[in-house]
Symmetry: C2
């Protein structure tokens, strides 16, 4: 009999169809490898050299307004440009490329250089969610845009080159890999059962309780059964919403509240500003109805054992499948415990 | 008209069916983010505290023999164990787990604690290849083993916790995600065309030449058209070999020669011991014939601009698709240039 807290096993990610290897017995392994620098403490409230602070001049010569809460602009070093051609090269299906027009936006969460989501009030975070909704609605209408990816890289360990609280939005002509997989799996489940995959999954999780971190009237935060990163979490709306444009004021408020709770919980876990990449998956922006699509957020944080010991997604992970040592259930227990202390 | 060296575009990985976003215009972006520690210089030829050095005692109390070239043993902190149950849990296709028995081996490349593949002679590397072949043949016969993944994590940046030159072998009951994708795509191409996908791809690359790094009678090293990591490369045998057991003495020698060349080339590129994860993909070990399967090696190195500036696979990469700034063609050119100097 398979014991999930003891035996090596793999778990299916029903959203992507891929598997994660779980080795619960391996946590006792000593770590002699690379340790990470601790995030330095003193960040000023305003940095004259920061291209995101109010009133400063950016790389393209424009001056930021003296914004008081949130502020969005088009990335000066955009990975995607609206005027790229979108024709195709195809050499026998083996050497294949397609032009990829798109739009890259930057969203500042606060004029304060030194804050993070975890230090902002729910009112302040609500303004961020409202701006995401507006940005999404605008990009969703753009004929060159087929998908909108909102994401935040927090912390130097996750490639953030500026501590000023901000996120990015990359709106692509085509659907990125992860969205393609999630679309196909949600469509398939819906076609087979008539139900929404994530609505059904959420019901199961609320019954079992052991992977739930916290919840409010609108959203639930949990460690998914198939979590890859040690303390990976997922934010799920209780209502079947497929994208930000379906949010009403209460949904936005509920999401802001959950973002505040989960980021404070993370910071508390190892008593450090917790690095992560986070972002939202929503229905493609191709103009079609996507009744099977359920909006959700993913947090992918790299830390494993402490503020300085991270999980490396390397060799077997890159060439085979992701692998984890601590189980999602024990991660959830530790996150719930941290939450009691915020 | 799409210009691959100028316009944003995506490229198809025909081995996995996934796409990579290429933004060639973005290389001018300044980097103010995290920089990596340079690898320290002085490593002793023998380290009494190393669990891989000859004659030392390992975590499980066993003493390593006084080996003179290569040495393999079962990992003391194995992520996979042969006696794990392999039954299944399935809750409506949403909470799904399967027991995963397997075997984890460690292969020391040399008794010398301070060497790396790039500093070893081709004769010495050939002994490593021969041992891989023996290990593969043995694991391939094991009824619990369905796939054999040989991989090396080199450098602290890639999670290696011990500089002693070694690799790991994780032999799993089921096929890991990446192998599943590569199997399906190679099978599909073979069914549709009667040809091997990688044989045809290699022919195209040898015609076009611009992504080739080097070659000998048996193998070709190239930057694949769909490379994800900045200086990613692939090793392809010219002959249609599907796994190590099909290698003859000349194939092993040719692979050893290429491993020597490519690792020296990498070390030269930024004048630093180049970190990477590398490994080999070969046909599954399920007892079936896999006429469509073409053995190959992947090198996934993280460095982007220098010994201390790496590529971060974060936000958009984790939630959407991998993204790169320098094109595979310019990476190939720089690697060829580095090779001239080794
Ligand atoms: O087994 P090692 O070398 O201690 O561990 C290293 O390689 C493993 C396989 O790629 C990874 O799961 C670990 O995160 C990494 O630190
Ligand atoms: O755009 P940034 O913040 O400079 O760059 C960061 O996020 C991007 C999107 O995830 C990644 O491609 C980069 O590797 C990372 O450093």
């Amino acid at each position: 009999m398979l014991r999930l807290q003891h035996d090596s096993h793999r778990r299916l990610n029903p959203l992507t169809g891929e598997w994660v290897l779980v080795s619960p017995h391996r946590t006792s392994r000593p770590w002699q490898g690379q340790t990470e620098a601790k995030a330095e403490a003193a960040i000023p409230a305003y940095d004259p050299g920061c291209y995101l602070c109010p009133g400063n001049v950016r790389a393209n010569g424009e001056r930021n307004p003296a914004y008081e809460d949130v502020f969005a602009f088009t990335n000066d070093f955009a990975a995607l440009l609206p005027n790229s051609p979108h024709d195709e090269i195809d050499n026998n299906g083996l050497i294949v490329a397609r032009g990829e027009p798109g739009v890259c936006r930057v969203v500042c969460f606060s004029p304060r250089h030194d804050l993070t989501l975890s230090q902002m009030s729910v009112d302040e975070i609500e303004k961020v969610v409202t701006l995401w909704r507006e940005e999404f609605q605008q990009l969703d209408q753009d004929p060159i845009v087929g998908a909108v990816q909102i994401f935040e890289n927090r912390g130097a360990m996750m490639g953030a080159s500026n501590p000023h609280p901000h996120c990015q939005i990359w709106a692509t002509h085509s659907e990125p890999n992860e969205l393609v997989k999630e679309s196909a799996r949600q469509r398939g489940y819906h076609a087979a059962s008539g139900n929404c995959l994530l609505c059904d999954y959420l019901t199961l999780e609320l019954e079992q309780e052991e992977r739930i971190i916290c919840a409010n009237d609108g959203f639930v935060a949990l460690v998914p059964f198939w979590a890859t990163w040690p303390f990976e979490t997922m934010l799920l709306p209780r209502r079947h919403l497929s994208a930000l444009d379906a949010f009403d004021a209460e949904d936005s408020r509920a999401l802001a509240d959950m973002l505040s709770r989960i980021t404070r919980c993370y910071d508390r876990l190892f008593e450090t500003p917790f690095p992560y990449s986070m972002g939202f998956h929503q229905r493609p922006s191709d103009g079609d109805e996507h009744p099977h699509w359920h909006f959700h957020g993913h947090f992918y944080p790299p830390l494993l054992r402490s503020a300085t010991i991270r999980k490396f997604m390397v060799g077997f992970e890159l060439l085979g499948s992701p692998q984890r040592d601590i189980t999602p259930e024990s991660a959830a227990e530790r996150l719930r415990h941290a939450l009691l202390q915020v």
